[in-house]
Assembly symmetry: C2
Homo-oligomer: 225 residues x 2
DNA sequence: CAAATTTGAAAGTAATACTATGATAACATA
DNA sequence: TATGTTATCATAGTATTACTTTCAAATTTG
């Protein structure tokens, strides 16, 4: 059996569906690698055009600007995480185990399991860690939000909050705890690598397991009945 | 008695001390208001020059680029918060009360108490909320860090972690909890305003007290002995 | 095969992020 | 008060970014 899953970000994000053409797919796949390497600020459509042997104008036919392309990447990622959560939690009843699973998914990097997409998940995860905040920390946030473009992120947050409520229905802040968890799962590994003074993870344990330990401790403490 | 406090960001941040001249002080004071209004991306030295009736070139004699200016603003802010914590915690013995005070300071906005600086603290706080992450989420992070330019932020984090350790010496993640707290104290009010689905704070309670309640609950739960 | 669509190639524009230079104003010292 | 120093202004200039436009060639689709 070959499970074909297709992760399709909101169509409003792109001017035309990039998964429907060779050029479009190259924009996404090379774009992820290039943005990961250069960082959002240094990344330009011109550089991407060069690296895929195409032109700036052609890329502009797919995406209005690089902020939309970033949103497309992030949407892809959050849809993928949501999908992973849905699959992983499917047969589980115990909310405690569900929460552990969620934290594992959020911190664990994406398994390349069943990957037929050709998307470099590890590069994508690096983009999510380093550039996510730039998606919403902009003066355009309200305009973007009113187009529902943050829906996958909000849906995942709500999904997690629902599991928290299942674990402890009396806890008053499930959504805030979920968004704090999602943010911390990005920031703590980044701090661990670049600003270790902001964490308690020492050099030798530079692995995601340590972060997961901290987050589990935090979440279960907060939710304790 | 007139307490004169002077908050001086790291000198390496500026090419010449902006507090030592009229123009320099205008760059800081108007710069804060303008960056708050336009957001980091739309803010330019040219626009700032126009709004203070000076020239781009003159501003470049004070700051290498706008990222340094942002760092200067943030450093000012974190030094100020550190100072406030030092003063507020001075006569307190009970670590529980200290923690409540810290959360109040982190979420409460800056009182304009004893203000002789002419700096718009409320605009500065908006910059901290919306633009802080852009200070370190850049490919230059390691270079900047090696110049000690994140020291005030790291010092405050360590200060808070120390109070956590005082409250519960056995807690294994005081620094990560401190950085998570500092980040959440910025993000939750931002989410409350722009992406309320990521929080549990409803429209009518759009005040910082609600966020403080969530953060106290979270921190004390994590630190529970 | 014809028509429609996509892409490439090239050029152009406005704004950004600087750098350079010479003139003038302010200021400090002798 | 004269003189040297430094800060600021005014202007101009460069390279890059973030796009837009146009037209021809290639490709896809009906």
């Amino acid at each position: 059996m070959n499970l074909q899953i297709s992760i399709q970000p909101n169509l409003k994000l792109a001017l035309r569906d990039p998964e429907a053409s060779t050029l479009g797919r190259k924009i996404i796949r090379e774009g992820i690698v290039l943005m990961c390497n250069l960082g959002y600020e240094q990344f330009t459509f011109k550089k991407l055009a060069e690296s895929i042997d195409s032109t700036e104008a052609s890329i502009y036919r797919y995406f209005e600007n690089k902020h939309r392309l970033l949103l497309y990447f992030l949407t892809w990622y959050w849809n993928y995480v949501e999908y992973q959560c849905t699959v992983s939690l499917h047969n589980l009843n115990d909310p405690e185990i569900k929460i552990r699973k969620i934290i594992e998914i959020l911190t664990g990097g994406l398994p390349n399991w069943a990957d037929t997409t050709g998307i470099d998940k590890s590069a994508l995860q690096d983009i999510v860690i380093a550039e996510s905040s730039k998606a919403y920390l902009t003066k355009e946030v309200d305009a973007i939000n009113s187009q529902q473009l943050f829906k996958p992120y909000k849906d995942l947050c709500h999904h997690i909050a629902t599991v928290f409520a299942e674990y402890n229905p009396a806890y008053p802040y499930p959504h805030s705890l979920a968004s704090t968890l999602m943010e911390a799962a990005q920031f703590q590994p980044y701090f661990m690598e670049h600003l270790p003074a902001l964490t308690d993870f020492k050099g030798e344990q530079r692995n995601k397991t340590a972060v997961a330990g901290y987050l589990e401790n935090l979440v279960f403490a907060a939710l304790r009945k």
